[in-house]
């Protein structure tokens, strides 16, 4: 088909298959990415995006199929092969040594000389050139851990370019960025494209796909279901292709009928384990029948706030009233006591906090409520009652696969989150606090979770949602609080624009006022 005059595609994948045991993570994937374009790959979790990119980058090898880079068949067995072919990857979780400088990180693994000094000198001039060429300014001698995440990501990109990448793969690059930082990243990507580089963007944020890509491919359950020119498609179409059915991107909800104050936080201050003040003198109320959303870039104290209110972390000072009665958060409040008083918590980190992944599903369905006499017979667990209860929740929340004896680690992210939500909501708490309700959750389950949270609200419960996904905050919340550097820097209604919230999240107004 390819004619001699047409430039060969940057990457061509032909009939890629990859199975892990019985699971076919990739089936007969065909993909062609033209040189000098930005190509998006979207799909739910577990659709096979990461597997496909890992095959391209040499972490896995395909069971069958062919990879062509620049028109030539390529054998990619290790990441080093990929790098030699000019493929670079920016991982979702940065692969940087925190206490090394930018320069040291960039040459790591690509040292040109046995003596570090000469490598660094050589790298410095090369880095200088790259920075100028692509507008990627980073101080070469800065220590990584002292840089904001946006700059750390820039170092990852520079690392790939330093190794001669012509094709750059970015895995969920905007998860940790503010809207402004994300915009800056997109400018950089466009510039890379203008210089003739090819960019592959893996994401689940459809708006980003629309904003920046030239073409987009959709994966579902291991297959490539469609490739579209971005200009000729819509968010709705892409979402439908991803899930295989129509989805509501924005949950419908009525007006809030807020009642009395359920949870009142006053002058709360929390420090992290290093003694750094993460929550700085915060006060707010949540009333019955409303959802309060806390927006902010990750790491601005939201996690510590959640931990303090739920009794996991001790606060330094301040007071919290639950149903008009004080909770001693600075002293010996513990999560069990708060649960008894009707405060349920869906933690941000379901893998290490909200669930024990090694447990069977039914064991996790009582975590935190294992003291409840319903689940006990004297000192013994009432296995029959626990199993019946787990089956009941599996049915109500459509948790799949519906086997309460299955190890929790074997459930997908969305189903794991449903296990946690089912456990907390079914206890009928008066106050529900939720951290990152849909992190790592597929589109179909997001809709389900949002509906459940709104149903809680409509039953007159007080719901606090903390999320780094602005879309989520805006579509769920009746009131939005924005956190920056441990403080609440603004309160807005749900009609607030993204730009307005983005400025608050970046602390711009804060600085202007100071």
């Amino acid at each position: 088909m390819a004619q001699a005059t047409i430039e060969p595609a940057a990457i061509e994948l032909i009939g890629i298959n990859k199975s892990f045991g019985a699971v076919r993570a990739n089936r007969d994937i065909n993909l062609e990415i033209a040189r000098g374009t930005i190509h998006g790959i979207v799909g739910e979790n577990g659709a096979g995006k990461s597997t496909l990119m890992s095959i391209l980058y040499g972490f896995y090898q395909a069971d069958s199929g062919e990879i062509r880079v620049g028109g030539k068949p390529a054998s990619i067995k290790t990441p080093n092969d990929a790098i030699a072919l000019g493929i670079g990857m920016v991982h979702q979780h940065f692969m940087l040594v925190d206490n090394f400088t930018v320069l040291e990180n960039i040459i790591l693994g690509a040292e040109s000389d046995a003596l570090l000094k000469r490598s660094i000198a050589k790298a410095r001039s090369e880095l200088d050139r790259l920075e100028r060429e692509y507008g990627l300014e980073v101080e070469p001698d800065a220590i990584i851990e002292e840089l904001p995440v946006g700059l750390q990501q820039r170092v990852e990109i520079l690392k790939a370019l330093y190794r001669g990448a012509e094709i750059l793969i970015l895995d969920e690059p905007t998860g940790v960025l503010t809207p402004a930082e994300a915009d800056h990243l997109f400018r950089i990507l466009r510039q890379l494209k203008d210089q003739g580089k090819t960019v592959v963007l893996i994401t689940h944020k459809l708006r980003e796909i629309m904003a920046i890509t030239d073409t987009v491919s959709v994966m579902r359950q291991g297959t490539m279901v469609a490739t579209r020119e971005t200009a000729k498609t819509t968010v709705e179409e892409l979402a439908e292709l991803m899930v295989g059915r129509r989805v509501l991107l924005r949950v419908e909800k009525g007006e809030a009928e807020a009642g009395g104050v359920k949870l009142a936080v006053k002058n709360l201050t929390v420090r992290d384990s290093r003694g750094v003040t993460m929550v700085d003198d915060i006060s707010f109320d949540i009333r019955a029948g409303e959802i309060v959303g806390i927006a902010g870039v990750a790491g601005n104290g939201q996690s510590e706030l959640l931990e303090a209110i739920s009794g996991i972390r001790h606060a330094v000072s301040g007071s919290v009233m639950l149903d008009g009665k004080p909770i001693d958060l600075t002293g010996k409040a513990d999560p069990g006591e708060l649960r008894d008083r009707g405060l349920a918590h869906v933690p941000e980190d379901r893998h290490h906090v909200g669930l024990v992944l090694a447990f069977e599903e039914n064991e996790n369905s009582i975590l935190g409520y294992h003291d409840d006499p319903r689940y006990l017979k004297g000192p013994f667990l009432n296995v029959d009652a626990i199993m019946a209860d787990a089956r009941d929740k599996i049915e109500k929340y459509d948790i799949r696969p519906g086997n309460p004896r299955l190890k929790t680690a074997n459930f997908s992210g969305g189903n794991q989150q449903k296990i946690v939500l089912a456990r907390e909501i079914e206890q009928d708490p008066g106050v529900l606090i939720v951290g990152q309700p849909t992190r790592g959750v597929d589109v179909g389950a997001i809709e389900f979770i949002h509906k459940r949270l709104i149903a809680m609200r409509d039953q007159g419960k007080a719901v606090l949602v903390v999320s780094v996904e602005l879309d989520e905050i805006r579509s769920l919340s009746d009131r939005i609080l924005v956190m920056f550097a441990g403080r609440i820097v603004g309160e807005r209604g749900p009609e607030a624009t993204e730009g307005e919230l983005g400025l608050l999240m970046a602390g711009v107004e804060q600085e202007a006022a100071a």
């Binding site: 045991g21 999560p335 935190g368 000192p379 799949r400 696969p401 299955l406 680690a409 074997n410």
Partner: protein, 379 residues
């Protein structure tokens, strides 16, 4: 993201893989035997016959196994709570003190069936108290339990040496041990059970502690998988953060788990002290606490696995003694090497062959390697 290592069916996980590990250990050991100029096949025959060939051998094997069941269970209980109790050795050793006090006080007045329950309580209590101090230091001060329990092994050893060459030694005796117990502190033998099957036993120390060990194995299973306390211990063991979230007190769970572990370690002392030697002598534990670590690992921390692994190590002890006797070129140290290889392959290198087995299973019957994670997507 999907992992390339899929799950295996239970029988392969708990049967096939340990068997392969064990076989490799024996093959390597066979080469060592070959190196010292003996026939490895004949050595293997002597080892197995020595352990299971005659009634006496079986009784000795089970006697050793009894000791290892206790220490293996002790290590496993702590491990389920995420704690590495390396102090089983010292907890068992110092528990000998509790047994000595009970036995020396009552052996002339009470029958064995009254002394025995008292001694069980005393050994468990002393073992638990000895584990309490490191547990407290871990829970309250963050002192690492591996370090403190190792140090407590040395402290226990020093205290016992002092007591056995001093206060507990009968006047005029030259041996560093207590006086021999009277009939009131001698446990009944179980050799008759083996004799029921027609085997002849000359004299072997297998005693009622074996049944106690099996009962404890059952109770540990009940504790870990069927009680609220066990649930809390496992939660903490898998994820301290999840335990904190679930409102489980870190201090309480560490201390409770370690005291149960120490109590089981302490009960181990009943077997050699009341069942065999009828006195408390220096170094009567002789490394059984450390073997317990290997037994617990090899038994995958499950009581059934621990009983089987304990019998295997009992076999190595008993058969190894026979082997050293029959083949002079194979010294006692050679037996330690063989045991070391078993620990190496079954414990430390437990997962060495797993990927290959999994690949094999996947190629034969993809369905058997069930990975349901990616199926059944969200609503």
């Amino acid at each position: 993201m999907s992992t390339p290592y899929a799950k295996l069916p239970a029988w392969a996980d708990y049967g096939l893989i340990p068997l392969i590990n064990l076989s490799v250990a024996f093959i390597v050991a066979g080469f060592v035997v070959l190196l010292v100029g003996e026939n490895p096949f004949r050595a293997a025959v002597i080892l197995v016959e020595g352990a299971f060939g005659k009634g006496t051998g079986i009784a000795f094997t089970l006697f050793y196994a009894t000791t290892f069941i206790f220490t293996g269970l002790s290590v496993a209980v702590a491990a389920h709570c995420g704690l590495f109790n390396i102090g089983t050795e010292g907890q068992a050793y110092i528990a000998g003190l509790g047994i000595a006090i009970v036995c020396l006080s009552f052996d002339s007045t009470l029958p064995w069936w009254l002394t025995f329950p008292l001694a069980i309580v005393a050994s468990a209590l002393v073992g638990a108290l000895w584990a309490l101090i490191p547990a407290y230091l871990q829970a309250k001060r963050g002192s690492h339990i591996v370090i403190t329990t190792i140090m407590f092994n040395f402290i226990a050893a020093s205290i016992m040496v002092y007591l056995l060459v001093g206060p507990l030694k009968p006047a005029g005796s030259q041996a560093p041990q207590t006086r021999n117990f009277l009939a009131g502190a001698e446990l009944p033998k179980l050799n008759w059970i083996i004799e029921l099957f027609g085997a002849k036993i000359r004299s072997a120390p297998l005693n009622i502690c074996f049944l106690l060990a099996l009962a404890m194995a059952f109770l540990v299973w009940l504790l870990i998988w069927r009680t609220r306390l066990g649930y809390e211990m496992r939660t903490y063991g898998h994820s301290p953060k999840a335990a904190r979230y679930a409102g489980i007190s870190e201090t309480r769970i560490i201390i409770t788990a370690m005291m149960i572990s120490g109590a089981l370690a302490g009960m181990m002392a009943l077997n050699p002290v009341m069942g065999d030697q009828h006195n408390v002598a220096i170094d009567f534990v002789s490394g059984a606490g450390f073997v317990g670590i290997a037994v617990a690992l090899m038994g995958r921390l499950h009581p059934v696995g621990i009983v089987l692994a304990a019998i295997l190590f009992g076999m190595l002890y008993q058969g190894g003694a026979e082997l050293a006797f029959e083949m002079p070129a194979i010294s006692r140290d050679m037996i330690v090497i063989i045991q070391g290889l078993v620990i190496l392959f079954a414990g430390a290198l437990e997962h060495m062959f797993r990927p290959y087995i999994q690949a094999l299973f996947a190629s034969f019957s993809p369905r058997s390697v069930g990975m349901e994670a990616v199926k059944g997507k969200g609503a």
